[in-house]
C-alpha cells in the first residue's frame, strides 16, 4: 500500500488512493455488506454462460436483440419502482397502471383517430395523475403504501376491463408507436449513438476528476477511471457490433439490422434518472428521507412532497412501460401489465441491488436486474421449459436477491457499517 499522502480540503491529510488501495477499499466495503449491484452482475454473467452453453441460439444476434424488447417494459417500471423503494415504500399497482396508460393510448389512437403524439401525451399524463393520487393517499392521508397500491392494483385491473369494454382487444396501427418496440435504428445511427455515449461518459468522468483535482480534493486513481471508461466502451461497442449484423432469416426479402430503438430510450431514462438521483438536491433529499425521515424533516426537507413525487415518478415510468408493451404486442388486452409484469419489475429492482428497506439503490440496478429477469425468461424459453418452471425459477431468484439484501444489512450492522 502506498504511503504517499496528500493534504485535502482544509488540511485533513489522507492517503492518496492508488489503484491497489482503491480496489482494496472496494473489497472492504463489499465484505462490510455494501455490495450494491455486484451479485446481479455476477448472476447475469453466470446465467448467460449457462444458457449460452445449453443453447447455441442464446448468443445469436437475433436473440440478443429480442432481449431488449422483452425486458423493456419490466425495466421501465423497475426504474420508477427504484424511487418508490428508496423511500421504503412499495407500489403494487405499477403493472396495471402501465396497462391502463397503454390502453388509454391505444383507444385514443385506434378508436378516436388521435395522432401518436396526442395519445402518448395523454398516456404519460395518466401516469402522472395516478402517481399523484397514490402519493397523496400515502403521504397526506397516511394509508400504508402496501394497502393503497393493493387497492389500486385491483381497481386498475377493473378500469382496464371497463376501458376495453369487457375484454375486447384493441389493436393499433400507428407506425410511430409500433416502431418504438419493434424497429431498429439504421446501422450508422447505432454506431454514432454508441460512440457518443462512450465519449460522453469519458468526458464527464475526466472533467469531474480534473475539477476535483484542481480544488485539491481526493480523486479516484486515473487507472480506475480509465478502466471504467474502457470497460463501458468495450461493452457498448461490442453490443453495437453484434446488433448491426444482419439478423434476418432471408435478407433478400427484408433486412433486419441495427440497435433496437428501445435501447437508446432505456439509456436516455437511465441517464436522466441517474443524474436526478445522484447530482441534484432533489435526489439527495430522496436518499435522506429513505435513510432517516426524522433527520430529513429536521433539516427542513419537505418530506410529504418528496413522498408524493416518488409515486409520481413511479407511475410515470409505468406509463412508459405500458406504451412500450402495447407497441410490442401491437395491441392492448385486459392482461396488458398484468400477470407477472409487476412481480418481475419489483424483482428486477431488488435483484439489481435496490434495498427493500429504503435508502439504498440506483437506477442502474433496475436495468441490470431487468436484464437478469429477461435473460432467465428468454433462456428458459429457449430451453423449452414451461412457464410454470420459469415462474418457479424467477421466484427463487427473487427470494435469493431479497435474502442477499437482508443478509448484507445484517452483515453491515455487525461490522458497524449499518
Amino acid at each position: 500500500m502506498s504511503t504517499e499522502t496528500i493534504t485535502t480540503a482544509g488540511g485533513v491529510r489522507v492517503a492518496k488512493p492508488t489503484v491497489a488501495s482503491y480496489l482494496h477499499d472496494y473489497w472492504g466495503r463489499v465484505r462490510g455488506g455494501d455490495i450494491g449491484g455486484l451479485p446481479a452482475i455476477l448472476g447475469l454473467i453466470v446465467l448467460c454462460l449457462i444458457f449460452g452453453i445449453a443453447r447455441d441460439t442464446f448468443f445469436s444476434a437475433v436473440n440478443f436483440a429480442n432481449l431488449f424488447s422483452q425486458g423493456a417494459q419490466v425495466i421501465f417500471i423497475a426504474m420508477g419502482l427504484v424511487f418508490v423503494l428508496l423511500l421504503g415504500e412499495i407500489d403494487l399497482s405499477a403493472g396495471y397502471a402501465s396497462g391502463v396508460c397503454g390502453a388509454a393510448m391505444a383507444i385514443l389512437l385506434t378508436n378516436h383517430g388521435w395522432p401518436w403524439y396526442g395519445a402518448i401525451f395523454v398516456a404519460l399524463v395518466t401516469g402522472l395523475v395516478i402517481g399523484f393520487i397514490l402519493g397523496f393517499l400515502v403521504s397526506k392521508v397516511g394509508i400504508p403504501s402496501f394497502v393503497v397500491t393493493l387497492a389500486a392494483f385491483l381497481a386498475f385491473q377493473g378500469i382496464l376491463l371497463v376501458l376495453l369494454g369487457g375484454g375486447t382487444n384493441v389493436s393499433i396501427r400507428d407506425k410511430f408507436v409500433l416502431a418504438l418496440a419493434n424497429n431498429n435504428m439504421p446501422v450508422w445511427l447505432s454506431w454514432v449513438l454508441g460512440i457518443v455515449a462512450v465519449a460522453g461518459y469519458g468526458l464527464v468522468s475526466l472533467v469531474q476528476r480534473r475539477n476535483r483535482a484542481a480544488r485539491g480534493l481526493v480523486t479516484q486513481p486515473i487507472g480506475i477511471v480509465g478502466a471504467k471508461i474502457a470497460g463501458l466502451a468495450v461493452l457498448i461497442l461490442v453490443a453495437v457490433a453484434i446488433l448491426t449484423q444482419e439478423r434476418s432469416i432471408n435478407p433478400i426479402i427484408i433486412s433486419v439490422k441495427g440497435v433496437p430503438i428501445v435501447a437508446p430510450i432505456i439509456a436516455v431514462f437511465l441517464i436522466i434518472w441517474t443524474f436526478v438521483l445522484g447530482k441534484t438536491t432533489y435526489g439527495r433529499h430522496v436518499y435522506a428521507v429513505g435513510g432517516n425521515t426524522e433527520a430529513a424533516r429536521r433539516a427542513g426537507i419537505p418530506v410529504d412532497r418528496i413522498r408524493i413525487s416518488v409515486f409520481v415518478i413511479g407511475s410515470f415510468m409505468a406509463s412508459i412501460g405500458g406504451i412500450i408493451a402495447v407497441s410490442r404486442a401491437n395491441s392492448v388486452d385486459p392482461n396488458t401489465g398484468g400477470s407477472n409484469i409487476l412481480l418481475y419489475s419489483v424483482g428486477a429492482a431488488v435483484i439489481g441491488g435496490t434495498s427493500l428497506f429504503g435508502g439504498k439503490g440506483k437506477v442502474i440496478n433496475a436495468v441490470v436486474g431487468g436484464a437478469v429477469i429477461a435473460v432467465i425468461d428468454n433462456g428458459m424459453g429457449l430451453m423449452g421449459f414451461s412457464s410454470g418452471t420459469k415462474f418457479i425459477v424467477t421466484g427463487l431468484i427473487l427470494l435469493i436477491a431479497a435474502s442477499v439484501d437482508a443478509l448484507s444489512r445484517r452483515r453491515a450492522a455487525a461490522t458497524g457499517n449499518r
Partner: protein, 267 residues
C-alpha cells in the same frame, strides 16, 4: 470575559394548558464560554431549549440576541439568528456520507447540479477548524463512523453555518471514556473559537471539565446561575435535587420569588 451576553432569556414563562413548565426562567450565554444547563429529569431543560430553537413559543418574558430583543417563532428564525441545536439522537442519515449529512437540506448548487467540490471543501475546512483529524475520508458513510465521530459530524454540521450559539443536548450520553474526552475537547474548542455554547448534561464530571458557567434548573425555575469556579460538585448536586444549596438557589419559603445570585457580581 465578555460583558454582554450573546443570548439572554429573562423572565420566560411557558405553560402547556394548565401545567406551567417554566416559571420566570433566565439564561445567559456568553460568547467564548461554555454554559452548562443542568437539572433533573422534568426540570424544564428540554422545554427551554425548544423555546430557544423556536419549536415552542414562549408565553411571556424576553429573549435578547446580541443586544437586540428577538422573537423566535420557528426553527428557521433560530437558524437565521445563528442558533443551532445538536439533538441527542443527532439526526444523521446513515446512508449518506459526511459531506452529504453536513449539508443536508442546505445543499450548495451550481445551477441545478449539486456543487460537490465546494461542499466537500467547506466541510473539510470546518472539520479542520475544529481540529478534527479522526475521519479517514469525508466521503465515508456516516453508518461506518463511531459514536464519537458521529457526534463530531453533528457538531460540525451545526457550526458550518457561521452559527454563533450552539446548543448541545447530552452530547456524551452514549459515548465511552475516550470518545467523551474527544467530544468535550471539541466543545471547549467551539467556545475558544468565539461561539456561545450551551451544554446540557447529567454528567457532573463533564460539566466541571468544560463549562465556564452553570445554570441549574429546578422544577421549572432557575435555581442558580453561577460561575463554575465558584461552586463545588456537591453544591450543584444539591441545586439540582433540592433547588438550593446554602445561600445559593431558591429561597425555601417563597420558591417563586427567587433571586439570581452570581457570586462576585453585585446584583
Amino acid at each position: 470575559m465578555a460583558a454582554t451576553p450573546l443570548l439572554e432569556l429573562r423572565g420566560v414563562d411557558k405553560s402547556f394548558g394548565p401545567v406551567q413548565v417554566l416559571h420566570d426562567v433566565g439564561l445567559s450565554v456568553y460568547p467564548g464560554e461554555v454554559t452548562a444547563l443542568v437539572g433533573d429529569n422534568g426540570a424544564g431543560k428540554s422545554t427551554m431549549v425548544k423555546c430557544i430553537s423556536g419549536i415552542y413559543s414562549i408565553d411571556s418574558g424576553t429573549v435578547t440576541f446580541d443586544g437586540r430583543e428577538v422573537a423566535i417563532h420557528s426553527p428557521r428564525d433560530a437558524s437565521a439568528l445563528g442558533i443551532e441545536i445538536v439533538y441527542q439522537d443527532l439526526a444523521l442519515c446513515d446512508n449518506l456520507d459526511i459531506v452529504q449529512n453536513m449539508f443536508l437540506g442546505r445543499e450548495k448548487t451550481k445551477g441545478i447540479v449539486l456543487d460537490e467540490p465546494t461542499m466537500e471543501q467547506m466541510a473539510g475546512d470546518t472539520l479542520a477548524s475544529l481540529s478534527v483529524r479522526t475521519v479517514k475520508s469525508l466521503r465515508q458513510l456516516v453508518a461506518s463512523l463511531s459514536g464519537g465521530q458521529r457526534q463530531t459530524v453533528a457538531i460540525a454540521k451545526a457550526v458550518l453555518w457561521n452559527s454563533r450559539v450552539v446548543i448541545l443536548d447530552e452530547p456524551t450520553a452514549a459515548l465511552g471514556v475516550a470518545q467523551t474526552a474527544q467530544v468535550l475537547e471539541l466543545v471547549r474548542r467551539l467556545a475558544d473559537n468565539g461561539l456561545g455554547v450551551v451544554l446540557i448534561s447529567h454528567n457532573m464530571n463533564d460539566v466541571f471539565a468544560v463549562s465556564d458557567r452553570i445554570v441549574a434548573l429546578y422544577l421549572g425555575r432557575t435555581a442558580a446561575q453561577v460561575k463554575t469556579t465558584d461552586v463545588t460538585h456537591s453544591q450543584i448536586v444539591e441545586l439540582i435535587t433540592a433547588g438550593r444549596s446554602g445561600n445559593l438557589g431558591l429561597p425555601p419559603e417563597k420558591p417563586t420569588d427567587f433571586v439570581d445570585i452570581t457570586p462576585g457580581d453585585d446584583q
